[in-house]
């Protein structure tokens, strides 16, 4: 690759499934959005706007780029929504939350999975992402911090709080 000589296309292809899954997490489970985010990531790699310097593993770097694209896409969408709402003189509270229902919820088969997903989705974005990276993708907290662009200490705090909140939410769900 001209702009990214350190990236091997075969390695990238091997990571594609994981990248799509992470893009889904970053896009709140919306498939189209995840595809768009992943395509933007690949475009940034092709054009050299995202350069892999080899300071971390390719997977960690890719996850960070995907997350950044998803965040900026979400910010743009939110700005547009706010502008439209202002034009239509809606109250800001009328703007739908970015965590709205996606395909994710419909896709869950078992009741247990549905319950866990519902609790997980109720967590703040950072906690959700840390738990996804550590529990599901087996990343050490230090690497998760690198993906999220935060310090290890902050990542640890989000991890602990996320665990506690998830446990509380699951216990609350089973009690009701």
């Amino acid at each position: 690759m001209r702009h990214n000589p350190l990236i091997d296309l075969r390695e990238l292809e091997q990571l594609h499934d994981q990248c799509f899954s992470w893009a889904l997490t970053c896009s709140r489970g919306r498939r189209n959005e995840a595809e768009e985010v992943l395509q933007m990531t690949y475009l940034a790699i092709l054009e050299g706007r995202a350069r892999f310097a080899g300071a971390s593993s390719l997977r960690t770097w890719l996850f960070a780029v995907i997350r950044n694209h998803a965040r900026s896409r979400w910010r743009r969408a939110r700005l547009a929504l706010t502008a439209v709402a202002r034009l239509a003189s809606f109250a800001p509270a009328d703007i739908p939350d970015a965590d709205g229902d996606g395909v994710e919820m419909q896709a869950q088969r078992s009741e247990q999975s549905r319950r866990v997903m519902r609790a997980w989705r109720a967590l703040p974005a950072r906690q959700r992402e840390v738990l996804d990276l550590v529990f599901y993708r087996d990343l050490p907290i230090a690497e998760a911090a690198e993906v999220l662009g935060i310090t290890v200490g902050t990542a640890r705090v989000h991890y602990e709080r996320g665990k506690a909140a998830l446990r509380r939410l699951l216990q609350g769900a089973s009690a009701t």
Binding site: L24, T25, R31, L43, A107, V116, Y136
Partner: protein, 161 residues
């Protein structure tokens, strides 16, 4: 049993309880991790991952298109900005000079002249207003053809009858 043995037993009990708590926590964490992993795994299984080749080639095509059109887009934007600036600045100059694009008096200056004339005409000294000034605001002559008066010609006798 000596006090030393009591303390030793107490320490052992505390240690056992701490170990138990730690094990419970780890077990709890493992359960949480498994539950979340299962749920996220189910989500991923239910979603068909788009083929790498299709996404990659689409990105390439998109990139090529953007790169190819980038200079044209930049030039068009620059031209639009320049045109906007010129239009705004020229518009301002015109207003300041009181002239329109056709070179005559702008409606703004006409309105102020009309106003001054109206004020003068409504004053008790209205007769002092120069006639040529009044003539300048006279209605333009009609451009439509009037019917010929020839057919209406009648002699004085006829008119008397």
């Amino acid at each position: 049993m000596s006090a030393h043995d009591d303390r030793h037993d107490q320490r052992q009990t505390d240690q056992r309880q701490a170990d138990q708590r730690q094990a419970n926590r780890q077990h709890d964490e493992r359960e949480l991790a498994t539950a979340l992993s299962d749920a996220l795994g189910a989500r991923d299984r239910s979603m068909r991952t788009p083929a790498f080749s299709s996404l990659w080639s689409q990105a390439g095509a998109r990139g090529g298109l953007v790169t190819r059109w980038r200079p044209a887009i930049a030039a068009a934007t620059l031209l639009a900005v320049l045109a906007g600036l010129t239009w705004t600045l020229t518009g301002r100059i015109d207003i300041g000079n009181g002239a329109t694009e056709s070179g005559g008096h702008s409606s703004y200056s006409d309105a102020s002249a009309d106003l001054a004339l109206a004020r003068e005409l409504s004053s008790p000294d209205y007769w002092r207003v120069p006639t040529d000034e009044l003539m300048a605001f006279a209605a333009p002559p009609l451009s439509a053809d009037l019917p010929s008066p020839r057919g209406f010609e009648v002699s004085l006798e006829e008119s008397l009858l």
